[in-house]
Assembly symmetry: C2
Homo-oligomer: 459 residues x 2
Amino acid sequence: MNAELLAQFRALLGEERARADADTLALYASDETPRSCPPLAVLFPVSHDQVAAIVRLALAHRLPLVARGAGSGNVGGAMPVPGSVVVSFECMNQVLEFDPVNRLIVVQTGVITDEIDRIARSAGLMYAPDPGSGAYSRIGGNLAMNAAGPRCVKYGATRDHVLGLRAVAGDGRELKTGSRTSKYATAFDLSRLLVGSEGALALITEATLRLVPAPETVATLRVCYGSNAAACAAVQRIMAQPVTPCALEFMDRRSLSAIREYGGAEGLPAGTEAVLMVEADGAREDVPRQIAALEAALHGDGLLEIQSGFDKAAIVRLWTARKSLSMAVKKIAPRKINEDVVVPIGRLADLVHAIDGLGERYRVPIVSFGHAGNGNLHVNIMVHEDDSEEMARAGACRDALIDVVLSLGGSLSGEHGIGSEKRRYVARELTPETLGFMYDLKRLFDPAGILNPGKKLPD
Amino acid sequence: MNAELLAQFRALLGEERARADADTLALYASDETPRSCPPLAVLFPVSHDQVAAIVRLALAHRLPLVARGAGSGNVGGAMPVPGSVVVSFECMNQVLEFDPVNRLIVVQTGVITDEIDRIARSAGLMYAPDPGSGAYSRIGGNLAMNAAGPRCVKYGATRDHVLGLRAVAGDGRELKTGSRTSKYATAFDLSRLLVGSEGALALITEATLRLVPAPETVATLRVCYGSNAAACAAVQRIMAQPVTPCALEFMDRRSLSAIREYGGAEGLPAGTEAVLMVEADGAREDVPRQIAALEAALHGDGLLEIQSGFDKAAIVRLWTARKSLSMAVKKIAPRKINEDVVVPIGRLADLVHAIDGLGERYRVPIVSFGHAGNGNLHVNIMVHEDDSEEMARAGACRDALIDVVLSLGGSLSGEHGIGSEKRRYVARELTPETLGFMYDLKRLFDPAGILNPGKKLPD
């Protein structure tokens, strides 16, 4: 980047907090998306005011800014675009206030997601959203994408746990949204407009998050079925009865084989084609009743086995295996095209059945797993990037998958967002009018188009 | 209204659905706000398309439109402004789809709130938000104001139960927001931007609402304290332990005296200065444990009595009394200035204490009751409209109350919204920048300013 501008950023942030050396640029050239584009510089602000100053300077120079939490997203949300500067929030990691009486916490948005939960637990509370990346993802990235996770089937996604935000819009104006109260009907809901806006409207610097009582205990079931259809039918039965589990995860046969060496698929009965991981949480006295209700709903055609009574260590192993899936599938082929589709629960079986058909038709291995209780599947089309014929088939398969999801009343993304990778599909789902309002909002908050250009919205 | 324009509305809607006779105009001249302003006409559309046609015709004539559900709001949200036309949604009362498998219902926005709950219960589900006006309020009004109610301490407000909307913006563009899925990370969150926007951005015509499992049973406690402070301390203890009640209502001494003849304050022990109504819901086997935990938290200084074991009829009587309060307080003085303030739970005792002081200082009777578990109090300053000296004191008292609430980290409105009645205070709470974004959003959705002018936003 031009030395004068870099010097100005250094004057704002300090010498060490505005970097343009080759190592740093290479390190921040991508997120978990399998492509890269080195930025012109990487900035490491430590405060809201520094972020505001960055936006204003960038605005004056029409310099694109790409906000970055941990870079753990996989849709290119934090991937630089040509000529852009990365604003890394990793040094904005201060907990500004923990207020257990009012069940809230105020954090800078570079705080690590699980750290928020850890602090909450010290006072018997919990930060409910639990993305698979929680151990390293930063809350700002969770807010930008409206991240979720297994617990969200019971507790809702990131959006449902935000009381208020501080942010800097693309036009340099500073925003303070929401309140510290659990009910609020005063302003327009600017908080939720920013949550899920993928760094394209404003840079979120601070968040006031809602905490909930931590459950006393959690119990886990591993449930094996002879077919995907049988597992999907069980998911529908679970969600049709009153006990909402705090996790209802689905893994297909290929997922199970991928995690075998992680210890997550030990002792599966012969003929297992799909596994559900089901959890209930709550008071110690109440969880057994919940588990009994869930077990009753899990029974049905194709059930092979319900395993329960796992000890803590075994539960950790199961979840480690489940959470390793995102990486473990790469054993099947070096690259995955990962779709994060979501359908109404009643159509989950149709989706899984259609995916089988697509895999056969396009001759690509597809690995599906995810948050079945929300109808949210991670569908991984496994490919070899150097095989252009296979890549073409995989692309066509992905394209057909999107059409299937939309025909089932579903949506492109349940929790990963759109980023650069899925925006070509957005116009298939949204009406032109609704898309028009999104462009209008983008222009309102970021008239110069400096915030994460080429993301979220189609061209 | 000008005969030609009326004829055009009649051509759109049918003869009977565009009225300008004196009786109709008088009937729609106000909502529950103690002021009135007859509209030029009242329109009764039956479909989204008719609403879209109304907005376009109104836009061509720069004619202000005031959306109206049941007219049960008390901040002037549905009160006509001079030269305006009321769009009544009462004929848009169709349930378009009830889908228990996917735990959702799609309704036109003129459907009565409790009717949605009644339908949900037929399949073991519940529509959780339960405003006191639910028996007659229409869901469109609930959406416009982000209405809540007692159950919202556990289940969240209207905003938390919206999956998607259809609407017509002030510029005539039609919007379709959200999805039918329980997770969603595709578009900007336009749904929640419209919820709570008080008919000033768009007219909401259809809503896809999230339903939750209905609890098997509910148990109710009536708890008497010797002082407001003791009751507030108990509220704080309740919200600091893990069992979240499904209602935590507060009534001060004057409230109790107002409902005495409704049967809601029978057999209170001598010295009762404040009552909490506390409920727990859930599975039959689990509610006793919850009640035991709540009772333990209710114990403390100033506790006079915990009554439990009410039968169904007694519970209905208690709630009828509680819900009659809004009207019953009028026994104390003919008019109430009703504030719907909300503070963080930890500041509730400070608020109640400050209100006592304000009542003394300004020599006005103040009746406070409300959803204490959310820190949301309905503070009623009782006045005689023809006593100008008293009215001046009451006005000053209200003004001071707002400052107290804001100094406690609270907000102007927890669930009633801003309307015409509170907009003068909005700039005290919101930063100029945040307010600027609200004006910008208003201009984006309603550039001609025809939707509910003079509401929500200060001039």
